[in-house]
């Protein structure tokens, strides 16, 4: 059953096509040589046919199919436009319109199409005056799929020449796969690449003798193209000939096949490099904008303020749009998981149902690239350690089929991915026992272990509670890798578990890595950006509220004792002479947290929130502890972005 939203789209779009067809028919009625109009009608009818077939409207499909055949004759100059043809086409369009109306009203139309179909067939069968007699050169051994044939038609309709290029490399050509790739790269710059024989994959792997064929749609005539191609070495021979798509192309003339649904280009591929460049430029633009806004504010000119307000709005909208272009649905990686879970479970003799919620939620492709492995690991863990054998589940009164749920949700600038299983949960006593045995903790500590500490333990390199090492997990590469990876993305891993009823791992990751929300703080004369995601709160305290405890300082916030760091000290901004007397000032403290650990950063002043564009640091200072990157502020100053995770 086709959804109503598609119906709506079908009716609105098909109406547009009918309008265009009518307009173009009028054009060819006055000028029978108007091939642009003929092509346009052909395109519309073709699309309409595809849409109708998709919707299951048989009569519409059939009539448009025959009309398309007739138009193809006109287009291929095998027939001349006659008043009779125009009449038949107008009549057909009227019938198409009535059929669409009937479909809209969800009625089976009584309109008879047989009359028109016969008329069209008759016209096609007539031996018309052939305008161009030259027979199309046969392209032997070339087969096009239906989709390719349709695509080629579109390209031809757009006025491009379809050519077949056979390239033979010299006999002792070195690294012929790279040579083929170079030729392919060059050709792609010269025209629309349709296909290659053998397929591109085989070319890249070198699975060909010495020659291969490219099918290309190009603007130039063949000679001009020939000249362009000669700039590549180690090519023995280039042979180019036009490709004619004959009647025997599948899909073009067989009434029974399902037509493809070709629309005007609505999406296109952009290389990630280019997107990154755009993103970078957007960052620069955002910086320039902030600078401008600051200047405008100081000038207090009303008109300028209005313009600057509009500019501000536009840039932030543009920024959002650009971030959107970098996003891909989570399904991109999640879709492979059910199959993987099924296979793994089967190997272990377990019965597991993997459910995925929210796979339509979109994430930055960089983030997506990086969370695949951690997620696989968590799922493997759940199957291996979490879910019990069917018998064990039966004994504890659970359904024999274990459940794993992957839930993706989004809140503001953050994505949450939860991996939930209904297995046995983490055995705290077992974790403690192993941790003590491995010398990770001492016995005394075990009484205060909460979930957070347990996670820390099981996420330590080399920790494994599994009784035996399986080929699925427990091979030493463990949660520590997951945790590190997520933290590298500026996210965090949380964990909840309940003995006997399962565990839940929660990945919190930023929507995008390129622009983050940050709190700007001043430390002496330097400005630092603290990622907002990690900030719990900011408070003000007096100097005497800071207490020394062993080697570090702490302060009390409500009932909690929080260690503090004086950023001026840790960032080397102290000046004992000039700083005299400043110690009595009230101090601003930004409290950051990571997991359940918190840390107060003592700063000179909290300046406010701002979107900052993250610029990576060069290799020399990349590894400086506590610094994640740099950003340029509105006034052109550089601020370092604090890496809160390594500080806590």
């Amino acid at each position: 059953m086709v959804q109503d939203s598609y119906r709506e789209l079908f009716f609105s779009e098909s109406q547009e096509y009918l309008t265009i067809i009518n307009k173009c028919l009028l054009r060819i009625e006055t000028n029978s040589g108007d091939f642009e109009a003929i092509n346009e009608i052909f395109r519309c009818i073709h699309t309409l046919k595809g849409m109708s077939a998709t919707m299951g409207y048989d009569k519409l499909t059939q009539l448009s199919h025959h009309a398309e055949d007739l138009l193809d004759e006109l287009r291929g100059k095998r027939k001349k436009v006659t008043p009779e043809i125009i009449d038949v086409l107008f009549g057909s369009v009227d019938i198409l319109e009535r059929l669409i109306d009937a479909a809209k009203a969800k009625k089976e139309s009584a309109v008879d199409i047989v009359g028109y179909v016969d008329k069209i067939k008759k016209i096609i069968a007539q031996k018309g005056e052939v305008l161009v007699a030259a027979p199309a050169p046969k392209t032997k051994g070339l087969e096009f799929s239906e989709a390719e044939a349709a695509w080629i038609k579109e390209l031809k309709a757009a006025g491009l020449n379809i050519i077949k290029i056979r390239i033979t490399l010299v006999k002792d050509c070195a690294m012929k796969e790279a040579r083929a790739f170079l030729l392919l790269t060059n050709l792609k710059m010269m025209g629309e690449f349709i296909k290659s024989i053998p397929p591109v994959e085989d070319l890249k792997d070198g699975n060909f003798d010495l020659s291969f064929v490219f099918i290309l749609a190009v603007k130039e005539n063949i000679q001009a193209f020939h000249n362009k191609l000669s700039g590549v070495a180690e090519v023995e021979e280039v042979f180019i000939e036009p490709v004619e798509i004959g009647e025997n192309v599948p899909g073009a003339a067989q009434p029974q096949t399902t037509p493809s649904y070709i629309k005007k280009i609505q999406s296109m591929r952009i290389t990630v490099d280019r997107l990154d460049k755009i993103m970078n430029l957007m960052g620069e633009l955002a910086i320039a904008k902030i600078r401008l806004v600051q200047i405008v504010q100081s000038l207090k000119i009303k008109e300028l303020e209005e313009v600057s307000f509009t500019l501000e709005h536009l840039t932030s909208t543009l920024q959002d749009e650009i971030i959107q272009t970098r996003l891909l649905p989570a399904a991109y990686i999640l879709d492979t998981f059910p199959r993987m879970a099924r296979d793994l479970a089967k190997k272990q003799g377990k019965d597991i149902d993997l459910e995925i919620l929210g796979s339509e939620i979109e994430l930055d492709r960089v983030v997506l690239d990086d969370i695949g492995d951690p997620l696989v690991h968590l799922i493997r863990n759940a199957i291996d350690h979490g879910i019990e054998d069917p018998e064990e589940r039966k004994k504890t009164g659970k359904a024999t089929q274990g459940k794993i749920l992957i839930k993706v949700s989004r809140q503001k600038g953050q994505i949450f991915i939860e991996v939930i299983d209904d297995g046995r949960g983490v055995n705290f006593d077992e974790v403690k026992r192993i941790a003590i045995k491995k010398g990770m903790i001492i016995e005394k500590e075990t009484s205060v272990l909460d979930e957070k500490r347990i996670l820390d333990l099981i996420a330590k390199p080399g920790f494994s509670t599994a009784g035996k090492v399986t080929d699925i997990s427990g091979r030493g590469v463990g949660l520590d890798v997951v945790k590190t990876k997520i933290e590298m993305l500026g996210g965090r891993l949380d964990f909840e578990t309940k003995r006997g009823s399962g565990s839940r791992f929660i990945l919190t990751i930023p929507l995008t890595l390129a622009i983050i929300k940050a709190m700007l703080v001043r430390v002496k004369n330097e400005i630092f950006a603290v990622p907002l995601m990690n900030i719990r709160e900011t408070i003000k305290i007096d100097e005497d509220e800071i207490k020394a405890l062993q080697s570090f300082e702490v302060t009390r916030v409500r009932d909690e004792i929080i260690p503090i760091i004086r950023l001026e000290k840790s960032m080397g901004l102290e000046n004992p002479v000039l700083d005299k007397g400043l110690h009595n000032e009230r101090k601003s403290v930004v409290i950051i947290e990571h997991g359940k650990k918190a840390l107060g950063l003592v700063v000179s002043q909290v300046l406010g929130e701002q979107d900052v564009v993250v610029k990576p640091l060069s290799s020399i200072i990349k590894k400086t502890k506590g610094i994640a990157g740099a950003t340029v502020l509105g006034d052109g100053r550089v601020a370092l972005i604090l890496d809160t995770i390594s500080l806590v």
Partner: protein
């Protein structure tokens, strides 16, 4: 006579390439032994063509591919031939993606080298039948 810059970390290769190219009537306008130097000298000498070894020691995070990218960024019209050895298909492919015009495989066959250089310098000059 075209100005050519040779980039290779091995002096031997630079001399060998230099000899072959001068004998074919080209002028060696610059030589560079690492990626960073290559980019700087490209800016300075603006050669008509660059031969670039793609496997060179990292110099300030930049390797041969990095140099190809950087030169193409500075001058999208730059003509770069990469030199590689057998078995480095993926590097060669990466270099082509980054904008290299052609590649030659070591050990260098002088005839092939000159063919590749001339075709890159004067595309369309010699007709391919």
């Amino acid at each position: 006579m075209s100005k050519i810059m040779i980039v290779d970390d091995a002096l031997f290769m630079r001399k060998m390439l230099g000899k072959a190219l001068t004998e074919a009537g080209h002028e060696i306008s610059a030589e560079a032994s690492n990626a960073k130097e290559a980019v700087e000298k490209y800016k300075k000498f603006k050669p008509d063509l660059v031969t670039m070894d793609i496997v060179m020691p990292l110099m300030e995070e930049m390797d041969g591919i990095g140099a190809v990218k950087e030169i193409i960024r500075i001058d999208p019209q730059a003509k770069i031939l990469v030199c590689s050895v057998m078995g480095q298909q993926s590097l060669v492919v990466e270099a082509i993606r980054s904008g290299a015009k052609d590649f030659i495989i070591k050990p260098i066959n002088t005839e092939r080298l000159i063919e590749a250089v001339n075709k890159a310098l004067f595309p369309g000059d010699k007709k391919i039948n």
